[in-house]
Assembly symmetry: C2
Homo-oligomer: 436 residues x 2
Amino acid sequence: MKTPIDTAIVAKAIDESKVHNVQRASIREVVRLVNTIEKLSGTKFVRMEMGVPGINAEKVGVEAEIESLKRGVASIYPDIEGIKELKDEASRFIKLFLDINISPSGIVPTVGSMQGGFCAFLMCARRDVNKTTTLFIDPGFPVQKQQHKVLGIPVEQFDVYNYRGEKLAEKLESYLKTGKIASIVYSNPNNPSWICFTDDELKTIGTLAKKYDVIVIEDLAYFGMDFRQDYSVPGQAPFQPTVAKYTDNYMLMISSSKIFSYAGQRIGILAISDTLYHRTFPDLKRYFTSDSFGFAAIYGALYALSSGTCHSAQFALAAMFKAVNDGAANLTASVKEYEKRASLMKELFVKYGFNIVYDTDLGRPLANGFYFTISYPGYTGGELVEELLPYGISAITLDITGSERKEGLRACVSQVRMEQIPVLEERLKIFYENHK
Amino acid sequence: MKTPIDTAIVAKAIDESKVHNVQRASIREVVRLVNTIEKLSGTKFVRMEMGVPGINAEKVGVEAEIESLKRGVASIYPDIEGIKELKDEASRFIKLFLDINISPSGIVPTVGSMQGGFCAFLMCARRDVNKTTTLFIDPGFPVQKQQHKVLGIPVEQFDVYNYRGEKLAEKLESYLKTGKIASIVYSNPNNPSWICFTDDELKTIGTLAKKYDVIVIEDLAYFGMDFRQDYSVPGQAPFQPTVAKYTDNYMLMISSSKIFSYAGQRIGILAISDTLYHRTFPDLKRYFTSDSFGFAAIYGALYALSSGTCHSAQFALAAMFKAVNDGAANLTASVKEYEKRASLMKELFVKYGFNIVYDTDLGRPLANGFYFTISYPGYTGGELVEELLPYGISAITLDITGSERKEGLRACVSQVRMEQIPVLEERLKIFYENHK
């Protein structure tokens, strides 16, 4: 059976890259393995395994960053609270695109949402001696579970696949009523599945969070990228959906990595609701000098993690927020490129016998965006990752994301150029022929 | 009694800035208070409270950083291990200026030594279920104790003032023999006192660390700044002293903040000794998927903290290391500016009745560098901070640094320009007249 890449070469690459268990490989191991196969075979993959930007960093950000370096910011420690321009423009952004009011004082730059999450998780799990555990609405971003392991914070999780819509409340409540849950974490749009919660679902989460005094940590890494609506007009509905409409007890993580393609510079913002910022929790004194949540989060936790975020990158992010706030740039114009690719790619996979695993939001077809999920009849996710290698196609399993869909893979569109779409079709055609 | 600034204005500023307990004010509170006095009085202070760079960022770094941004690195996640150029040049730097061999694989960029320390502390305190506690050789950097509180890691500490030279071994051993000590932490040259450990003292630390299998975490933030020797010639003795000569079990923190005045960009490197990198500790499996120290430190801990350091800043640091490695730039040429200022300032303080608190390294006068320590007869440190305010002079207490010298203040030279030296003299003269 002929394959685009000789299976012998794939076997050799597996050996050379030391990825002995392909079916259980981590993202980084898949990257390493595919690099090796490409090197040995001379054939470029259709690479769908890495969730990294596939377009250039926003120009207005790069220019502002360069200007700030010329002005000499490299020798000056940024204010711990973040530079004023960034706090102010982020607050405007949240108002104009989420229709939510958060004071600049509660908005701080973080070294990516990776650091934002680390800080949020530890603050939430430390403010009440009984509320020790983070609840993940999966599927999710595996590294966040790793962060919990490093911090020694217990985790609960469930795959929302079977609990959409009206089923969500009861499932959530089954955890919350134990009294142990400190926070609820999810991304929306979702990495890896690209599901988007409906407003009703967000209302459910928010209402229950209020009822049980649980803090919601909402990861908006793919802000505005549910392209089924146009969220890009500042100050005008529709606005990016958010749980902040339904509870006062929340923290939002907004990363520059995907919306502005600024992943390399490691910068995002963590926005603490005004209410939460000013709440006091006596149990915080076990770890911090202050019992005020906002004060402890910024001057206690975040400061201890790195004393601030790269000074010049803060100017970049302030400028990028300002540009979309002012209407000088459109929030989704660049990233809509992903929608186009996803639409074409999904069509091809389905044409050649694959299924979309997470396929609807309560009956409504999923948006086309940064990720989509696929499976092939008769194969587990791990088997499918391995089976696709000789076809020069790579992806990761949903298994590692907390999804129960063991047959599923996460496909990322960002590294796939339009010129590769015909190549993808060719390879899928052969796959189909060999597997029907 | 006339003072350069009216005491009524100082009182008003204390009220307005809400720093109600001046004598116990943190560094940031002193900063805020002095900003307010300056605003209300229109008089500029001689500001010695902030440990921030007082010279421009190294040009070769800024230029490399700008170039990398133009090349598009802002949209590309840096390798978790750090970019190759930085790892390689840092390894060369360590060889050429410390005369120590550390493989690039064990050298990773961190978001300042703040993050480097955070990572180091947590790794050391997690590798052995019995070794739970960090031992600080104080005086030290207060934020590191705050990091321990946030992490929930216990701390022991002692002020080395009375334990220099031959007294050090017994004091150290009294802690190490409990078997609870995971790591020993100190900075050398020291913040705040500017003492420099002799080679014998480093040998003592290293030998005991070996004996009790304790990891030494050496903070080299002021690398090469003991200006009593010239450490700036690559590959030629004398080399910056280091405990790495005396033990295999260490981690070095080298920040760009002071040696290259690159504080704003938040970048340093953490260098794990080759030996330690490859050691395995079964107890690490409680928190990490790997029991290999180096692997867990980089892919487990550091990755979970922020997924890497700002991409462009890595190119900056690589370029700055390369310049001094190649001999194209001199490591201490710019920062020797601090020596000049310290020398003049110390002379003036002593002339007008002040004492230098930490004044010798075993009989040898301290170097003149970034910090020095002062006291005035009859005043505690807190009282002296407050007393100096109407004289337009600011500093912080040694108390918060773990020093036992309650009468002492830390004076930083970086924000004091040469033109202010006569102003300082004038004010010290009045202080002396009013206090003799």
